[in-house]
Amino acid sequence: MRYSSLWLPCLLVLNLLLFGLALGWGSATFDPVSVLTGHAPEWQSAILYDLRLPRAVAAFVVGGMLALAGVLMQVLLRNPLAEPYVLGISGGAAVAALGAITLGLQAWWVSGSAFLGSLASMLLVFLLGGGRGYGRGDRLLLTGVVIAAGWGACISLLLVLGPDQSLRGMLFWLMGDLSRPVAPWWGLPVLALALLAAWVMAPALDLLARGDDQAAVLGVEIHRLRAVCYITASFLTACAVTLAGPIGFVGLVVPHLMRQWLGAGHRRLVPASLLAGGALLMLADTFARTLIAPRQLPVGVLTAAVGVPLFLYLLRRRGEG
C-alpha cells in the first residue's frame, strides 16, 4: 500500500499545530493556549483575537478553497497544468478590484467588486466555452485562457492609466496577501458546503478523469456533473480571491502533491487537498509576517518560493518513475 489510513489524522494534527503556530508566533511570541483559557495579559488577547485569529482563519480558508478548486479544475479540464486561475476568474476579479481602487472606493467596495468581477468572468467563460456535446474540455480551457489574457490586458491598462497614489495599493492587491480580511468567518461555511458537494461528486469525478465519453457510458450525467464541478470550483476561486487577492501555486501544487501521496481517488483527494492547502497557506503566512518582521512579505511570494522548487522536483520524479 502506498498510503495508510492515517492520512486524515496526520493532516488534522498538522493543521492544529500550524494553527497554534500562526496564533502564537510573531513579532510578539506567546502561548496561545494560555490566552484562550484567559490566563494572559490583556494585550496578548487583543493581538490574538483582533489580528492573528482572523488572519490564521483566512489563511486556512483561502488555502483550502484554492486547493479544492485546483482538484476540481484539474479533473474538469483533464489537464495537469490547470489551476483555479487558469480560466480567468482571478483576472475578472482583479479588473473589478483595480477599477474600484482607481475610483478611490473603500476597502469593502474593493472586495465586493472583486467578487462581482469574478462571478461575471465565470459566467462569461461558461456561456462562451460551455455548450453541450461531448469532449468539450478543450473548448472550455481555450476560452478561459483567452479571456484570462484579455483580463491581463485590462489590468495593464488600469495600471498605466490609474492615478499614481493608488498604484501601490493596486500592486499589493495583485500580489495577494492576507492582512486585509477582518472577518473571514463567512468563508468557513462556504468551504464546508463546497467540501460536501465535492465529496458527494467524488465517485463521478473518478470517472470524469477518464474522459467525457468513458464517464458517460459508465453512467455519469456528464453535462450536469461538468456544470456543477465548474460552478463549485469557480465559486471557491471567487471567494478566495475576494478574501486575499490572487495567491498563486497553492491550487496547482497541493493537488499534485496529494495525488502523488494518496493516489487519484477523489474520496481521499478532496478532503486531503483541502486540509493540505489550508496548512500550506497558514505556514506560508506565518513566515510572511515573521521573516522580516516588523515588515511583511506578500504571502504570494512565499507560496511561489515553496511552490516552484517543489513542483519542479515532483515533475522530475514523475519523469523518472
Binding site: A209, V217, G263, A264
Partner: protein, 260 residues
C-alpha cells in the same frame, strides 16, 4: 433478455449521415461483427448505439427502451462500450480503475458496496490483470491499459456490450483470451456482443452475425456464413479478397494488387 433494435437509424457526425437508414434487431446470445473500411462509420455507429452521438434520424432501443429517454445511469446497466481510445493518466490503481465499472450499480453515498467486490475480482481475473492489481494505471503500456478498459466493461456487466476494435493493441495471447471471453459472454451468459473489427478472419471465426458497411453508404446484415462472401467483401473493402483453406481453418486474404 438483452436486445438491441435500430429503427431506420441514420447515424453520422455533425448532422451529416454516414450511411443509409439502418433497420436491425440483435438478440441476447449473439455475437455481431461490424465490418467496414476506415472512415466508413463503424465507430460512429457504436457511439450512436451507446447514446454518445445523437442519431441524425431514427431511433435506437435497448431492451425495448428508447435510449434517448433513458437516464445515463440506467442505460449504463443495460449497455456498455469499450472505446477505441481510453487513455488514463491519473494515478489510479488498476483495481480502482476497474471499480469505476460499478458506478452505475451503486446505491446511496457509498462509492462501492460489498456486493461489488466479486464483479471487480472476476473482471480483473478474466483480463489477466491480477499481478497488476495495485499498479498505477499511468505506468502501464497501451495494451495493458486496453485490458484495464475491458475489465472495467466486464465489471460494469451490461446486457449489451459494444466493443470498438477490441483486438487492437492486444498481444496474440490476450487477443485469443478476449475472443474466448466474447464467446462465453454471448453463448453462456446470454449477453449481446456487438463489435467493430477490421480483420475479416476475426469476424469469420468468432461472429454469428455480420453487419457490412459499404463505402457508398449501403449495408447488409445477416448470418456470418451468408455475409462473408468474396463479392460482398470485395465491395466492403474496395479490393478483391479470397478464401484459402477449408472449414474452420479457412483464411480470408487480400488478392495481391497486381493480379486483380
Amino acid at each position: 433478455m438483452a436486445s438491441l433494435q435500430l429503427d431506420a437509424l441514420t447515424f453520422g457526425r455533425a448532422g451529416q449521415a454516414l450511411a443509409e437508414p439502418l433497420d436491425l434487431r440483435a438478440e441476447a446470445g449473439e455475437v455481431w461483427a461490424v465490418l467496414g473500411e476506415n472512415g466508413v462509420g463503424k465507430s460512429s455507429l457504436l457511439l450512436t448505439l451507446a447514446g454518445l452521438l445523437p442519431a441524425v434520424a431514427g431511433r435506437v432501443c435497448v431492451d425495448g427502451v428508447d435510449i434517448r429517454r433513458c437516464p445515463r445511469k440506467l442505460l449504463a446497466r443495460r449497455i456498455g462500450l469499450l472505446l477505441q481510445q481510453a487513455w488514463l493518466d491519473f494515478p489510479f490503481t488498476v483495481t480502482e480503475a476497474v471499480s469505476a465499472g460499478r458506478y452505475a450499480h451503486r446505491q446511496g453515498w457509498q462509492a462501492l458496496g460489498r456486493s461489488d467486490t466479486p464483479f471487480i475480482q472476476s473482471a480483473i481475473q478474466s483480463c489477466g490483470l491480477e499481478a497488476l492489481a495495485e499498479v498505477r494505471v499511468d505506468r502501464l503500456s497501451g495494451g495493458e491499459q486496453r485490458r484495464v478498459a475491458l475489465a472495467t466493461l466486464l465489471a460494469q456487466d451490461p446486457g449489451v456490450l459494444l466493443l470498438d476494435e477490441p483486438a487492437n493493441h492486444l498481444d496474440l495471447r490476450h487477443q485469443a483470451r478476449l475472443m474466448a471471453q466474447v464467446q462465453r459472454l454471448a453463448h453462456e451468459s446470454r449477453r449481446l456482443v456487438f463489435m467493430s473489427v477490421h480483420d475479416i478472419n476475426l469476424a469469420a471465426r468468432h461472429a454469428d452475425r455480420v453487419l457490412l458497411l459499404y463505402p457508398d453508404g449501403g449495408h447488409d446484415a445477416g448470418p456470418a456464413s451468408a455475409m462473408l462472401s468474396e463479392d460482398r467483401l470485395a465491395r466492403v473493402f474496395n479490393h478483391p479478397v479470397e478464401r484459402v483453406g477449408e472449414g474452420a481453418r479457412a483464411l480470408w486474404v487480400p488478392r495481391s494488387a497486381s493480379s486483380s
